[in-house]
Symmetry: D2
Subunit: 435 residues, 4 copies
């Protein structure tokens, strides 16, 4: 077993008053909340990419993290070391799940053959690590955006060979996810978009993306994978425009290709805000459209216009997000995956724990607050009363008429509807009582 983090103790729940920086103050996995344990509500996962693959580089500078597996070429030995350290981390953090892209967990491959071989090695190892650590796979995915071959997209690439290369990766990653007992399979189309309309056949690219997704769904059924297929909306970056802009766009896309009952969304907080939505808006929209799947937990910087992927640190935001998740019926196959990265200056290995422990507690406190709001009932009561007219005589009368029938009824009654207070400030104050 890896001992990279041997300076870090096992992370445990110690309660709100604990002065231990590396203990959970709110995440008490066995605590029952609205009839379910916190562990089952939140289904936390940590990820490979930001935590074990990213070297601390950005567009303006090189890596700042000194990790042994980054020191030489990313070969089979380095990849194995990385996998072991990752599982040491998952276990020490005591999150039940983890997530990966194919490229995250394997040695760097120059060609298709090596890609498949190195990935297969990695999957064998992951299977062992899962067994020995008791960790489970929340979702797997294939990286169709980092290698130069994907510069112009994966499934939306003008070159059909790239589409086919992607098909190899996705088939392998989907089958690996199935074998590893993954609860979901995710597609994030970082390059499925365009840089300029001048060289882009928008309709063809949308249709190719629709076809690719249909093929994946078909293959899922063929191999008997019972997990959920998820799409992760994002409006832009790295592309100028990404086709999966937001939840509402993805819904239209799914409807267009007849996939709205097959695919759900993996909502990322920072992607929501980049698309000019609140995090809770995206969850509520997905719930209303019956495509809510899973969460990538992080946050953006409201003053910066790129994907900062910071750890969630706002209980206020997470209370509202959890409220919408509870209202949506909670997770089925999904969970809270930390698609968050420590800042480039947070180069100590311990910083990985500070980020995750703080993030987990913020989400957990948000759940507790949201549950208390639900149990309190006043918030829901306000809403019920606000729409009560639709259950009254007039509301029911117009429910069965056509436009002319409704208009005639209104005229006959000479209606003069009066606006009523939406009570926004009162409700905001009410929320603040539960934070």
């Amino acid at each position: 077993m890896s001992d990279f983090f041997n300076a870090i103790p096992q992370i445990k729940f110690e309660g709100p008053e604990s002065q231990n920086e590396l203990a959970y103050r709110f995440y008490d996995k066995d605590r029952m909340v609205l009839g379910k344990s916190m562990e089952d509500h939140l289904r936390f996962a940590a990820c490979f990419w930001h935590t074990f693959c990213w070297p601390g580089s950005d567009v303006f500078g090189g890596g700042t993290f000194d990790r042994p597996w980054h020191r030489g070429p990313h070969d089979s030995a380095a990849a194995a070391m990385k996998r072991e350290v990752a599982f040491e981390f998952f276990q020490k953090l005591d999150v039940p799940y983890y997530c990966f892209h194919d490229a995250d967990v394997m040695a760097d491959a120059d060609n298709l053959t090596d890609h498949r071989r190195f990935f297969a090695e990695a999957v064998d190892h992951l299977e062992q690590l899962q067994a020995s650590s008791g960790r489970k796979l929340l979702w797997g995915t294939a990286n169709l955006f980092s290698h130069p071959r994907f510069a112009a997209g994966g499934a939306t690439n003008p070159d059909p060979e790239v589409f086919a290369f992607g098909a190899v990766q996705v088939r392998d990653a989907l089958e690996a996810t199935h074998r590893l007992g993954g609860a979901n399979y995710v597609l994030w189309g970082g390059r499925e978009g365009y840089e300029t309309l001048l060289n882009t056949d928008l309709k063809r690219e949308l249709d190719n993306l629709g076809r690719f997704l249909s093929l994946v769904v078909e293959h899922k059924h063929k191999i008997g994978f019972k997990g959920t297929i998820l799409i992760e909306p994002k409006p832009m970056e790295p592309t100028k425009h990404q086709y999966d802009f937001d939840t509402a766009t993805v819904y239209g896309f799914l409807k267009r290709y007849g996939l709205e009952n097959e695919v759900k969304v993996n909502i990322e907080a920072n992607h929501a805000t980049l698309a000019s939505h609140t995090f809770e808006h995206e969850i509520a929209t997905a719930a209303a459209l019956s495509i809510f799947g899973s969460i990538d937990a992080n946050r953006g910087d409201p003053q910066n216009g790129w994907d900062t992927d910071q750890f969630p640190n706002s209980v206020e935001e997470l209370t509202l997000a959890n409220l919408e998740i509870i209202r949506a019926g909670g997770f089925t196959t999904g969970g809270f995956n930390f698609d968050s990265k420590v800042r480039r200056q947070s180069m100590d290995p311990a910083d990985l724990f500070h980020g995750h422990v703080g993030g987990i507690d913020v989400v957990a406190k948000g759940l507790l607050n949201a549950a208390a709001l639900i149990e309190d009932g006043r918030l829901d009561q306000f809403k019920t009363e606000r729409y009560a007219g639709w259950n009254g005589e007039f509301g029911e009368a117009i429910a069965t008429r056509d436009l002319a029938g409704i208009a005639d009824l209104a005229i006959e009654r000479n209606i003069a509807p009066q606006p009523r207070s939406g009570g926004q400030e009162r409700l905001e104050n009410l929320i603040n009582r539960f934070l």
Copy 2:
């Protein structure tokens, strides 16, 4: 006939070299472009609201425009004067079309009865004015957002009486549009959204909006209106979040309620940019999804985050927009409506002409440029070559296989696709040759 603008000469085409500030330099309505007159391509309309109803106020200050019809109460006489001046303007500008909201053209009404009576008066007058001026109606609409009763929405209002009040207005406005020979009927849901999720039943509101739209479509068919029903996307403002966020969102909404063959979009440039899209993106998206309808021509300020509704003044932007419109097959029932307003400091009546004349010429020059680009062929040729692989042997081979079949073929051939230049800078330079 009104003579409010008697200081302004009839606006005519005089050619690029004309030094007359109030002449068209590019809009030569009878000039044939790609087999169709410019008038038939562009189908220009001017609007009532910004040009004749808005007094030059903003959130921080009162009206700056001295217009006689604003001086007293907005009664029947004032409304009649406004209609006459508007038609004087449409005629002098020589745009074939105009557009209106019910509230724009009528006296202020305190109740349902007055609303219907004053609107009926207005429609009679509009019919006469159309006949005498030779102007036509591009579209009519009903204003379900200005009156306090609509503070919480029209079709999405928590109070069913407001829904019903809206039904009266929309039935009347749709029937008036039909009677006046309107080419389209528009719905812009300025308050169809929410201020806070805390008091909002998102799913119910979406369903009510879907039902309302279905009723309108049904009524259209019932009365035999052959024009197009249009929805105008906008992401936000006045609401925090508007349900018709952008074209892709509207598409999903239409699919959800089975209306995708009944309703199209009226795309506004400034709404596109508020939604983080380019104007041409929204047109191209609508075309790809077969819901392109009409245009509200204006522009926003890239540094300001609200709807500035300025007159279009970028030939660069309008060239790209016209290119997408031509590719979409051009307008059928739609057209270029100037949903643009002069600046609050542009209080001279002549400024209304400067704004429109400049805007019309910018759009017209954009059309000429776009047509030249199409005729040149190099831009399309680049795109054809970029996607040529899909028509080749490999592209066709993968078109009929399932995921495993494609993956197996890729492995068998040991493909190693190489990225190719997207040529963005070359194409941008090519565009610049045509401006």
Copy 3:
């Protein structure tokens, strides 16, 4: 005495557990915090304009608030009623201070003579109301942006007569503020900016603005006003660009005209975020530049690009803001003025109380949290250690050398500085312990 709010009880502190929606849970005015009462720390004020002048209109619709003083013309009687109701409100809310623009408190004037007469009437009445209610004036100001004469600016207007008209208003408002014992005098230049550079002489306008401010400062001294002159930064809206963009811009402006020791900033939260800064950034910057003056408490909507002026409701944000205020030494003449408005749908008079009570408690809780963080000491300790090198031998050695001397020392010692963790996630977790 006015009894408009007779359905509302006097607002009092009842403690965190109180279930009374209209009581303070955290604002306990006599509680001592870091050696000073909460009242003296926070110096709360309510304002006239949003709360008593705005009718609930926006750019897309009319007023939704039914207030008796809005029902007819805004004459002397209506203005007097408004002033009385306002003081009833200030007293019931138990805020020690209030703020006004000249135009807020007086009847509408058509000309200079009436303006001066109506304002003088209003000031007499305010003096009586202050005496009878025990409320004090935090600051006064003159409105040089709402009337059409200010469409192109006040002090920056191309027309010198407008500059002079502004001088009349500002002299009168400054002298009234002096007479009423105001603690500060504010200038907010809503139209001091430009709509387009095409018609703007930027340098001349900056110089005119600098001169105007110099004249105001000179007059302040002449009349013996001991309060602080404040400028309120805002980046844009209503203008395309406002000259007082943010605190750093205002600082440069003050330095240019030699006023940096005479004028301070009134920082508004929503203006900070419109300028792409956090609220606390603007406070910290003002403190670093020795120009921190006062606060306009509100918040924007992170997804909307205009000035929403919502009530503060984030304890997280207000904790960080209070932290910077405490570090800056706290308010001297400044205070927390609620430049916040209830939503357009919050049309009940009680909503005005919900907004203010909630906002006051959020600010108060933020103060308590910030004080606890200061007393805890860990946050400051981290910072001290982070910069400790500057107090060490090397830091001191380079403090007295020139560039070559420093470079030579570095070479001589062959330094190889190692990056150290900035601990951002740990510090964010630490903050969360105090919320």
Copy 4:
């Protein structure tokens, strides 16, 4: 001599009608415009970093450019090859100037000693290349942001050793710039800002930055460098907040440290728009404040919130920018440096030429248009008339009075200033005549 670009012909002026994609259509270097050659007006430079150092990577993927000097370690041989290819490019493009960071032109160094040695080698070579190619240095700079040691800043680093390391680099780079006859020396503080206020001593960092700049200015004089010291404003990225936010902020900073007559700004178009300003606003502001220095020519994407550094392709934008430059008196030591990068998909070496040739022509056409506008005179005439009142009797009367004197004069004359049209639409139309 390098022959990496041997497939590319020497780039020459061929006139607007040329169909050669790699010829100048507008940049005719010897053409006289307003009494000066285009070459002397525009003083074009190309840069090392984006064009020869960046491998085509982004945050989501690896390098896409196959350049021989990137294939192995970046040692002395690779660095020499890069320098030679760069000068081949500068010459073929026929730009008179180039720009570099120390790290761009030299082998990768692990320590201070190597840094100085490799840089010295590079400077010797650059001197030879300048002599043989006839190219000149527009500016040099030192990279204090890419290496991990600068993760927390250069001059603003909490660690004084990093400040000292930066002093070594800047002294060497400044002296090299002097030796190479550079016209300017630039400081861009990519990491001179903060990631979070929680760990930042804002005042100390500002003071350290001020001191560093003062030391640089002092050293410049000591060594007799006659070029201009330039600061390049940018609001954010890579940091959450950068201290040199925009031109107005830099002005205040310079005033604070008494450097406003010593340092000017290097304005980048994309940084202007990231700071919520137009490009021309930043130029006009710098001119008004007498700190206009040089230009980094590129553009951002109005829909994307990060620094895209695209080649300028809008003649509309460049016409307005050139107009402000001409009004500012034109460049003295500054010039138009292409801080622009081809898109990641533009991996052909020829794309580097397409980007620069198009960009140069856009800037050149902008100059021609701006000169024509100046010669036409109508734009300036409008502005002169708009402010004419300040030269009239009233304007002069108020120029010498104090606040009370002005107010009394206004009252005595009972002034009633009337707003006048700002003519924005007319002026925008006028501009469009010259594009």
